[in-house]
Each structure stands twice: as C-alpha cells, then as structure tokens.
Homo-oligomer: 339 residues x 2
Amino acid sequence: MVTIKEVAKISGLSVGTVSNVINGLETVSETNKKKVQEVIDRLGFKPSRIASSLSSKKTGNMGIIVPDVSSPFYSEMIKGISETLEINGLNIFLSGSNDNLDKETSLIKNMMYSWVDGLIIVPVYERENEPGILNELKIPVVLVNREIRGVKRDLVVFNNFKGAYNATAYLIKNNHKKIIILSGPKHSRSFEDRVIGFKEAMEEKGLYDGSLVFSCKYSEKSGYGAMHKALGKLQNIDAVFASSDLIALGAIAAIRERGLEIPGDISIVGFGDIYLSKYLNPPLTTIKRPFYNTGKTAVSLLLERISQQRKFSDFKSEPARIIMQDLLEVRKSVKVKSV
Amino acid sequence: MVTIKEVAKISGLSVGTVSNVINGLETVSETNKKKVQEVIDRLGFKPSRIASSLSSKKTGNMGIIVPDVSSPFYSEMIKGISETLEINGLNIFLSGSNDNLDKETSLIKNMMYSWVDGLIIVPVYERENEPGILNELKIPVVLVNREIRGVKRDLVVFNNFKGAYNATAYLIKNNHKKIIILSGPKHSRSFEDRVIGFKEAMEEKGLYDGSLVFSCKYSEKSGYGAMHKALGKLQNIDAVFASSDLIALGAIAAIRERGLEIPGDISIVGFGDIYLSKYLNPPLTTIKRPFYNTGKTAVSLLLERISQQRKFSDFKSEPARIIMQDLLEVRKSVKVKSV
DNA sequence: ATAATAAAATGAAACGGTTCATTGAACCGA
DNA sequence: TCGGTTCAATGAACCGTTTCATTTTATTAT
C-alpha cells in the first residue's frame, strides 16, 4: 500500500506539502502541485481513510439504523440514502435494530466508537417516552419516519394523518359506509396519526364508531389475524383501510378465506405502496410514500447539519422537521360505486 | 471521548497493560485485570475502532456490494449478512453497484482505501470475461449468486440448473406440453443455467424446441414485453416458466391483458420466491432460493478465509464453491392436471 | 541467600495521515 | 543595501491504539 511518505520522497517534497495537494489547499505552487499529482497518479496513491480519520476526526462514514434491513420500505429508503451518500464520497454503515431498543442503543454506541460522522435512524418506537441516548449524542442525527416525543433532532416524517384522511375520504366518496381500520401497533406516532386521520374523515360524515378500529402489529400475519377477527365480529363490512400494505396483504388473505371478493364484496386501501402492491390482483389502491426521496432528504439534512457543526462548533439551530407528502395511488382494490 | 491513556493513568498502570486487558491477553495479573476493568467500566471507555484499525490493520469492517440495495432478493441477503456480522461485532459497509462495472470497480477501490477486512460481492455480470480486479484484490472476497468465468474466489451460488429443471419437470408432470421459458438476460451464468435446466427437462420428454425460448431482461417490464411477444408468436401456450419472479410478474400482467386466466388457461412458475409471490392471486408457484441463509453462508466463508489468512499469511487454499439448494415452492399458479 | 528462570509490566515506536508554528526564499520600497 | 512583507515549504507533534524489546518483579531451585 502506497503511503503519503513515499509520494513525498519520490516527488522530493515534504509530507505536509503532499497532504496539502491532496486536500486541495491553495498554498502550494502550481509547479509542485503538478509534480505531486503526477507522482500520485503514477503510484496510484489514495490516502488511507483510516489514517486520515484518526488525525482529522472526520471519517466520512455515516451510520444507518433501521428496524429491518430487508423491509420493502426501508430498503427503498436505504437505496436513496446510499446513492446520495455515494455521490458525496461517503460510506454507509448499515445495521438493523430489529425494533428492539436495547439493540438500537448498542448499535448506536458501537457506531459512535467507529466514529461515524452522522447517524440516520428510524428509531424503535417502544421507548417509554425516553428520549435517552438520542438526545445525548454529540454528532448530528436525523430521525426518519417515526417521531419520538421529547427528542429534539432533525426529522423527516410522512404526513400520516393526511394520508389516512385522504384514503378514508376516498372510500367514503365511493359510497362505502361501514369502513374499518386495521390500525397497526399502538405507541407508534405514525400509526396513531393514521387512526386519527381515519377518525376525522369518518366523523365528518357521522360514520365513526370505536368498534371499527382493530389494532394489530405491523405485519401481514397480524393483519391476517385482525381481519379474521373483524370479520367475525362485524357484519357487512364495506371496506377496509389497512394502515400498512403489509397489513393489507394479510387482510386480503383473510377476506379471501371467507370466500369474499375484492373489491366486489369488500374494498381495501393500503398504506405505503410497497413494491408488490401494484402487482397484486387486484392491484392495491394505497397511500404512496416516497421512501427513496425520504432517504435522499434525510441525507441532505444530515450533511447540512454536519457542515453547520463544523463551521460553528457550538451553533445549534432548531431541529428541522420535514414532512414528506403522502399520495393516494388509485388502483383497483376499491369498488367505485356511483351514488 | 475517553482514551486508553486516561484509563492507564487512573488505574496507575501503563497503556500497554490496559491494551492487553482490553484484548484479553493472558499476560496480565488477575489483580490488575480487575483494577483496569473497573476503571474501564467506570469511565465507560471503549477503544476507538479507528485508532485500533490503524495500528492493528484490522478494521472489523466488511464491504458488501450488490447490484441493487433495494431488490427484494438482495435486501433479504443483506439481512442475513448483517445479522451474522453483527454477532461477530463487525460492521458492514453497504453499496449498490447498479449493475455497472465501472461503478463496481470504483466502489471496490473505495472500500480498499477504507481498509475493509473482507468483501462480499454480487458481481456485475457484464464484464467481458475479464476477471480483472476481482482476482487481484489482496483481501478475502466472497462472490455470491453470480459466477464469473476465470475468477478464483470463494463462491456461494444457487443451483440454478437444478431449480429450473425441477420447475420444468413439475410442469411436465402436470401434463403441460407447450411450455415456454422467459429466460432472462444473456451473459448471465445463472440465467443461462436456468435455460439449460429447462432445456434438459424438456428434451427428456421430446418437448424441446428453440422457439420456446424468449429472452428478456431481469425486470417485470421486460417480462411483460416478452410475454406479449410470445403470445403473439405462439398458439396454445400451456405454461410459462419465468426464470425470475419479477419476470413472472410482468408475464402475469401480459397474460391477463389477453383475457387469459391463470392457471385456468396458462400455468406459470416463477423463480426466486420474492416476498410478494405468496401474496399474488393466485399465489405463485416458484423456485425458492434461501437468500437469507446465503448471506449467512457468505459471511462464514469470509470469516473463515480471513482467519486463515491471518494464521498463515501466505496460505491460499482452493476457493470454496458452496451451492445452495433451490426448492420448488408449490402454490397455486400451476393447473394440476391429472393425466 | 543467591542465581536462574518465569511472569508481569513498561514505554517507545509504529500505523498513515493532518495541522500548524516555524523557517526560508522571493519580492518590494526606500 | 537593508528591513519588512508575502508566499511556499517544512517537519514535528498529534490522533488513539497495538506491539514488542526491554526492564522489573516474583518464583523457584540450589
């Protein structure tokens, strides 16, 4: 491995000068710049990131922590993050927290000791309102998708309320009356917001009723169970608003098992527009969330914060709060009834 | 940030001794081990990975390069990799090559300068038979999923031949005669193998004919186009073997557009068992590939190779070649005809 | 009690860069 | 010609570890 010393020796200049050339400092004469650059090219020298990290205290590594690395949502986001970081010559450290707070904490700590310059985290939601470590970290952190009470950090979230409201309103507009919501886990701000959006749209038309809310976990299995439960309890359900496409998947299976048709007997709207939704039969009408762009946005926020921190080492501007707009993606899983 | 020096000073011992305690060396007396450990615990000290990397030349970072970070296949594999590495306290550097050779090369170089200890790569296939950089890298490398001619590296692949053979044989067994294959991209060893598996199964029953092979790219869009083309050219297609679930997705859409039913009119078998396949209607019969376990396996191979290299610095055993077994996952997209 | 040996602890060099106070050369005006 | 100023280049200190030759301490045999 070629080192800066060899470059210095061969080009007959000092290590300091070579370093200045590498970093584009303007204090080097044109002659020497060229001379050094030639040697660098000839030897194929690239400065070691490790050494440079140690002395400059900037690693160029960003840590990413998501609950599940393989989730269709997050992997889309990771792609956005990864491509954006790459443009800036930065590396990404990826880890999955498995939605487990202890693991998240240990991952964060581990990353701190790997000296990441910044962190993008989709935080575990069950944390008993303890901002804890998230507020204490001394490096820039951007939170994505889930807002944690009491945590003062840059944030990129979706407008879950509006998305749910729109989805529900769309069902109502198409003349559905008895609409249930498969609400997703409690303790999760984003899922709560979806319930509220649902509730608000329903109440506006006097359709709301607490018994229409069925909570379940964020998975197809849980959606499957909840849908069966709903079908058992309630008669004549017109439509289902599943607050996640994953939940919708399970619900669809359950509905079919009862011999009901979609959208003939029951309409369904999902939330999230995962990769597969448009390939389902019928293609799932759902709320689309721009995860790729969310990843990109999170990175810009992070880089912005990092450069700010470097310029004014003690300056802390208010945390940003960026809201990505959800969009109703109309496909075929809702029966369009004319009034 | 607490450093090893402070730990040394406070515990009244030398830096070297503290380092030995950290690394579990047996040359430290029990008394001092305890003393140091206490100070470490009290101060919450953790050695900096950066510093330790620089001096030991082991970073504990592994590079992962896949064509597409968000692909359902690879994100599953990444999960397997990530969870296995984590157990060993190792970090993962993730990047997407976008199936572009130049990008792959530059990613690899970049990782080299970040001093990763090892690399797991799903290589770009279009490389004009140039092993190139892959053979030259001085660190352990494990290739996954795609075999590149002339590259002598540890490898984890699927038995694409057998999978395709089984899928085709299954169709034949169920009394399908006119079976086409949507073959996926050329230049790709894994897709070629699938064609060969298809061909062999067909030939055994005298059913093969070159006109049954339709090549397309690895995407639903391309599968959609190829299926339409096939439907235009050929009459009475009994069944389709799509050499990827993604291709199957497109094919299904095309088949439906022609007013045909699955599996009533045409049966279809996919390849890959992506996340969504079991949720399709009808659920897609497909070849399942254990991507999660493939990730795990790649990691063990890599770690094995790394420790080998550390023990005998010049020792090079033959590259391993692990074949993960594909499995036919029977669902509902094939019409089961009794003969 | 002493020499020989084993075990434990030390501390400086090394890893490969960055940074910055210092030096040296070049230039300018008087 | 000399003092002052500017611009380049230097090289040593530093970042936080590991490593290993050397020194110190403890143990054992005589």
